[in-house]
Symmetry: C2
Subunit: 436 residues, 2 copies
């Protein structure tokens, strides 16, 4: 008898991070880092884990959206799905009724991403491999079959993608050995949250340097005079050899971004992240031309591969920031990695939040081993929050992510964390005093 997908377990998990302003920035002032968490179960007792990351209110809408995907999955033959993950992606993404709710954007698209990622987690567990290794072992042809080229064909055709992958193929084993030995470069945002005092930032910067980080990111965008002062302080502390980037979290309009970045540029910025609306491709291109050689980065809120295609094709971004849980999961991120490779733009994933580091490290490592073939000018974001809630937390040593070795994608939350932080009835939420 064949193994089939049987049901989803869903949880609304929220961490009360707003109480300490962890994760605070100019746009997202009081986030409660949250996950709409799904465990996909099969009739054979296998499990796969995934989630939508949110920052609090509305996490229940993401849960409802994952629930809406469940009937499309339950009853499908697991072997058939795993042997055609590209077809499975299209089955979910192109469902003619659900598609109306995006299309391919917002909560329903993220919900499909959670389910796609959960099935990849299950697949990797079944193979006994960490996700990055499962992906890296695929042939170029198998990778191309995972990608939906709909809406991409004016810029990237399957044959060209195949060529990109074939070019990287010969060095795969050597790079895999290097990755296992050396890990993958990380940068840290933990020092620079907007809600922290100067003193706290400076002591966290020193701590980050002592931990071996060579690239730090600071939040800006609330007040430019304050931004200039803080960036200057940090640059003076770290000296000229440390990479500094800044992140405005979409608060600027186009002309305001250009003006404000010109005041920050003297402090030698690696990139400026999310200068304006993630939907504004032409605006990003205008900013990029104006602030060169400082580079524009964005992606954590870019809705799908169609927007990434345009950002890359129009030189709007010099740094491509994929997010594990914003687009529709692993498959769509593979499409974006291929687009970035075509345009020679380095991929530096967004992470942090809840479990974003745990998943996205696999995609960076796959990018290094099988697509871009390089870690030069590439870093995966690291934020040192909430890892203790994961069964297989990231290991970051001397400013580098160590390659995961346990089977799966890293998305599995500890059962005790799921129950304690379930909203609104978990132990932690019941014990919290209400905000007055």
């Amino acid at each position: 008898m064949s193994t089939r997908f049987e049901h989803f377990d869903l949880s609304d998990v929220r961490f009360p991070t707003s109480r300490a302003l962890d994760g605070s920035d100019a746009m997202n002032k009081e986030p409660d880092y949250s996950a709409a968490y799904v465990v996909v179960h099969t009739s054979g007792g296998e499990k796969g884990h995934g989630f939508v990351f949110t920052i609090g209110r509305g996490n229940e809408v993401a849960v409802a959206a994952i629930r809406a995907v469940e009937p499309l999955v339950v009853g499908l033959d697991v072997d058939e799905v795993l042997s055609d993950m590209g077809g499975f992606w299209r089955w979910l993404t192109h469902d003619s009724q659900l598609r109306w709710l995006g299309p391919e954007k917002g909560v329903t698209h993220m919900a499909i991403g959670a389910v796609v990622n959960a099935v990849w987690d299950l697949y990797a567990r079944r193979q006994g491999l960490p996700l990055w290794k499962l992906l890296s072992d695929l042939t170029p042809k198998q990778v191309v079959q995972l990608v939906d080229f709909r809406y991409l064909s004016d810029v990237l055709l399957p044959d060209e993608a195949l060529e990109l992958l074939a070019r990287a193929d010969p060095g795969k084993h050597e790079r895999e050995r290097h990755l296992m030995a050396e890990g993958y470069p990380a940068y840290t945002t933990s020092a620079g949250w907007l809600g922290y005092s100067d003193q706290k930032v400076l002591s966290l910067v020193e701590a980050a340097l002592s931990q071996g980080f060579t690239h730090l990111k600071l939040k800006v965008g609330a007040d430019i005079d304050n931004d200039v002062r803080r960036v200057k302080l940090v640059r003076e502390l770290v000296g000229p050899d440390i990479q500094l980037s800044v992140d405005a979290n979409q608060v600027w309009d186009v002309n305001e971004a250009i003006a404000d970045i010109s005041r920050l540029a003297p402090f030698d910025l690696n990139w400026v992240e999310e200068p304006t609306s993630p939907d504004d491709i032409l605006g990003h291109a205008t900013i990029a031309r104006a602030i060169a050689p400082v580079r524009v980065a964005t992606g954590e809120h870019v809705a799908n591969r169609v927007v990434f295609k345009q950002m890359l094709a129009s030189n709007a971004i010099g740094v491509c920031q994929i997010d594990a849980c914003r687009v529709a999961g692993v498959n769509e991120n593979l499409a974006i990695l291929l687009l970035a490779a075509k345009f020679g733009v380095p991929v530096c994933p967004h992470a942090g939040g809840v479990g974003l580091c745990e998943i996205v490290q696999h995609l960076s490592m796959f990018d290094y081993v099988a697509v871009s073939g390089s870690t030069e000018g590439r870093w995966t974001e690291f934020v040192d929050h909430l890892h203790e809630h994961f069964v297989d937390p990231v290991r970051v040593l001397n400013g580098r992510y160590l390659a995961p070795t346990r089977p799966g994608s890293g998305a599995e939350l500890r059962p005790g964390s799921v129950s304690d932080f379930s909203f609104p009835n978990g132990r932690v939420w019941r014990e919290l005093s209400p905000i007055t």
Copy 2:
């Protein structure tokens, strides 16, 4: 004692339209036209009506998203909200936690649109005016205050918007009289659904002509040979003086769109609608350059004003198709009307679905009276389905929308329809035999 917003009544209303392929097109093969319907109640017993339009599965996610907006509204003073509808819009749209779920796109953005529209409905009822008249009576300065210029300021500043409105101001009363006497031009899509037989299409085309329509739209995109044959048949039947447009509902990639449209262009098309992904601004611009003088139209799936800004600024669209329920309601549509006016692009709203005609006619009429000042080359879509479920259904006579005279926005569903078509437990759904 002040009047406050008290609670939302929510209903998941679905019409089993897929059984007759009403509304079928190349992308949306079997839609069950649906509404996530909200009635906003105040402590004074006032009500306002709004909805998210969907095509079936996932309508419950839209209901959950509206429920997530409720806590931001309940308890607010109604007078204060109505006196600053621009501030109310920003309050909902820029909520820092909910915003993460878009930002400004997908289900959560549409849910805010439903709530904003419901409050406008309440406002118009309180004033005893149809929505178009309430809006038309506002001064240019009041209109500008309703618009959030965030992310627009590189293309349109409040002062320029004020000038556009001031230019139209002197003729308002004359145009209002004309509107009351003559109505607003409509075009019809009722004849051209993809799932209909040629015979059914041709007899519906003849019916549309006899009803006074001079502009018809046909669905294309499933099979180009079939499209060419059908468009040719219809053009031969209607002769050269009737406007014909086609709608591909996003099924083409960029190069495919250009190739297929070149085969349809000989039949004298007014516009080609949704040739590709609504997120592909650069793709639309490429198509527009290639198929000129045939015009590209899109908008019903354009997520927000930021994407419209780029579509207009890059000449990607020659026809701007606002939708009453895709963006965040009346306020955001005012922004889009102003952007379209700046670039001299005619606004021809998308309608049909459930109640989209009822609401969007008000925006077309406001555009005519107070913004563009013209109906030339402008038509509001008309689809003759499901109007019987509305308390104040549209009146279309001789190919024109008659100006509504009853107070409100037209969004109120008949109570019997809400109960009969509630999903899954309303009478109609209980009586339907399951699809096998």
